[in-house]
């Protein structure tokens, strides 16, 4: 019941008019970010960080804003899946399977409405799971010593590629590159200058915010320029709402199953929202069996993945908040915000910054309600925005990224740096080196080195301390599995996901 008290305090934080306003704004912008193809949630949150930072928002408000954006992006992703058969973000991929056929049958409005409700149910279930699980995990994490943390960081990197990841070596390379960038600057413990080459701007290290914005936003622009998809696509008609109460009631079990499964895969390292929506969809198909018309516009085929990916997005916050180890790209970007607010994420945050943690959790609940309310009447507005061609949109988004970075330091040096990161990001993406591990490396690198140092000082230089305790050993084993499993299970899972995509009769 202690938790309930904290939650009430969280509501007291989140329900102040000022914070509520930012939650509403975040939910709105998030939906926008989610529904526009080419502006993924990680990218969108990354661009907003410098703005939240320079506005001088108090930490809890900044986090509430970004969490609302994060939740909103998960809602928004479904809009373009249903109307255009193009997922707005990766987790919304499975929503295409039945959402688009529904839209073609003239039931676009129903698909949008029911998916909004499913998103709400998934988000709600996920958040309840977060409320129950997070404090327990945080208490457990208090027993972690430096060696366990070091192993935990390794685990985070090893599983980041996800079980469906293509080439784990590339994930390792990416993470190493990120950590290497984080070692630039003056070493905290000894004062040695590392890799500064005498450049004054490098003494304090490379600001990860500009690296993140460069890697995501600028490389996205370059990708669009290359693919020359600037024209955008035809608009779809939404039509009238014909959803009946009976249909809605029928989907309740699906919503519950999807939300729970999604939450679980969100919490687990290496699974994430994409797998969450995939598992929910496949299971639903199994459960309903031949009675359903999956792939031809079955309403449950829209509900399951949507409940799944929203459950997963709340679930993914569990490791980020309790251990300081994010499991997905967007939560990594949220972690960047926490670190730049000078808040050390991890179990201590639950005691030291309880107002922020519980404020964020309460904001997630409120955000979900706001999003449901926003999404049903405003869907037409979002659909209109979908038809704004990227050739106008992306240059403006890029400009906003420039403004954000510029307003942090008022130095053009940072902007050149950001462009350089963008070019690097473009080449790395072309070579299929994932960007998220780089970001995570940048963020976790200093912590990792610090924990390594502490562990070895405590053990008097005995390296075996790193895997001495059973817990640390266990983490090492899971990390090892995280690297090996994609080789064994990955091809199989990927094939099944592809097969599921192809089965849909209208995958044109």
């Amino acid at each position: 019941m202690e938790t309930l008290g904290f939650l009430m305090e969280g509501f007291a934080v989140a329900l102040t008019p000022y914070n509520l306003m930012f939650a509403l704004f975040g939910a709105f912008v998030g939906t926008l970010i989610g529904c526009l193809p080419g502006l993924g949630p990680a990218n969108g949150v990354a661009i907003l960080i410098p703005l939240a930072f320079t506005l001088g928002l108090p930490p809890e408000t900044a986090m509430i804003l970004l969490t609302a954006v994060y939740a909103g992006a998960m809602y928004g992703g479904r809009i373009s899946s249903i109307l255009l058969n193009i997922p707005g973000d990766e987790p919304a991929m499975m929503t295409c399977l039945d959402g688009y056929p529904m839209a073609r049958k003239g039931r676009a409005a129903d698909a949008l409405a029911v998916s909004a409700i499913a998103s709400f149910a998934g988000g709600l279930i996920g958040t309840i799971g977060l409320i129950m699980l997070a404090p327990v995990l945080a208490r457990f994490a208090l027993t972690f010593g430096p060696a366990e943390y070091f192993a935990l960081f390794l685990l985070a990197f090893a599983t980041l590629g996800g079980i469906t990841g293509k080439n784990p070596v590339k994930t390792v390379v990416a993470a190493t590159l990120g950590i290497m960038i984080s070692t630039v600057g003056i070493d905290i413990s000894t004062g040695t200058q590392r890799y500064t080459f005498g450049v004054l701007e490098l003494y304090e290290g490379i600001d990860f915010i500009l690296a993140i914005v460069g890697l995501f936003a600028i490389s996205e622009l370059l990708f669009f320029v290359e693919s020359r998809m600037g024209r955008g696509r035809d608009k779809m008609n939404v039509g009238k709402l014909t959803l009946t109460m009976k249909e809605l009631v029928m989907t309740i079990p699906t919503q519950l199953r999807g939300g729970v499964l999604g939450f679980i895969s969100g919490v687990l390292p290496g699974a994430g929202a994409s797998l969450g929506s995939f598992i929910s969809y496949t299971l639903e198909k199994q459960v309903v069996g031949k009675k359903g018309k999956f792939g031809e516009g079955d309403i449950r085929g829209v509900v399951a993945p949507e409940a799944g990916n929203n459950g997963a997005s709340s679930g993914a916050l569990v490791p980020m908040l309790t251990l300081g180890v994010p499991g997905s790209g967007t939560t990594a970007v949220l972690l960047a915000m926490l670190i730049s607010l000078n808040i050390t994420p991890g179990p201590l945050m639950f005691t030291q910054n309880a107002d922020i943690v519980w404020g964020v959790i309460a904001a997630l609940l409120i955000g979900n309600v706001l999003l449901l309310v926003l999404n049903i009447p405003l869907v037409g507005f979002f659909v209109k925005l979908l038809s704004v061609p990227p050739m106008y949109l992306l240059p403006i988004v890029t400009m906003v990224a420039f403004v954000g970075i510029y307003s942090i330091s008022h130095s053009t040096f940072d902007l050149y740096f950001m462009v350089a990161f963008g070019v690097a990001g473009y080449f790395l993406r072309k070579l299929e080196i994932p960007l998220v591990p780089i970001i995570l490396g940048l963020l976790l690198g200093p912590e990792m080195e610090k924990n390594l140092g502490h562990a070895l000082v405590l053990s008097d230089g005995e390296w075996s301390v790193l895997w001495a305790s059973p817990l640390a050993m266990g983490l090492w084993i899971v990390a090892g599995l995280g690297l090996i499993l994609p080789y064994l299970v990955g091809p199989l899972l990927r094939r099944r996901m592809n097969a599921a995509m192809k089965e849909s009769p209208v995958s044109d």
Partner: protein
């Protein structure tokens, strides 16, 4: 299907890893004597991991991606030049003029007709400028348009 991309990447990373690791060995011993974990310990570990990763990439490369050639590559270079020139001119010309030019050129090169492209640029520049300077009181450079 060639796989030159990964090989070149692997080679580049190998050079980087060796240089990075070598540089770490050159640092003077910190004041107070050597410890088990000095400033060079962690970078040395990273260099070893990256050497291993880069060797793997060279030995077992993935098939190449489609690299842009001809017009696409040209457009990419143009976009990059626009971004760099934008940064260069941001302070001397001021935010509004530089942004109009940059956003306008990018939209135009991405396929918009020139007039709506530059109008979008101007409009977005003015909106952001007003919003930042007056709404949020974060000063963006006014440049040529500065009122003395």
């Amino acid at each position: 299907m060639t796989s030159l991309g990964d090989r070149i990447l692997g080679l580049g990373l190998l050079v980087l890893a060796v240089a990075y690791g070598w540089a770490a060995q050159q640092w003077p011993e910190p004041f107070g004597g050597a410890e088990t974990v000095g400033p060079e310990t962690f970078p040395t570990m990273l260099a070893v991991v990256l050497v291993a990763g880069s060797l793997y990439l060279m030995i077992k490369p993935d098939p190449d991606a489609q690299w842009p050639v001809g017009k696409s590559a040209f457009e990419l270079v143009i976009s990059l030049v626009v971004l760099v020139v934008y940064t260069l001119l941001l302070e001397p010309l001021g935010f509004v003029i530089a942004t109009t030019l940059a956003v306008g050129t990018l939209s135009w090169r991405m396929g918009a007709a020139p007039r709506p492209a530059f109008l979008t640029g101007l409009l977005s520049a003015v909106v952001v400028f007003v919003l930042f300077n007056y709404g949020l009181s974060l000063s963006l450079p006014a440049g040529l348009l500065e009122v003395h």
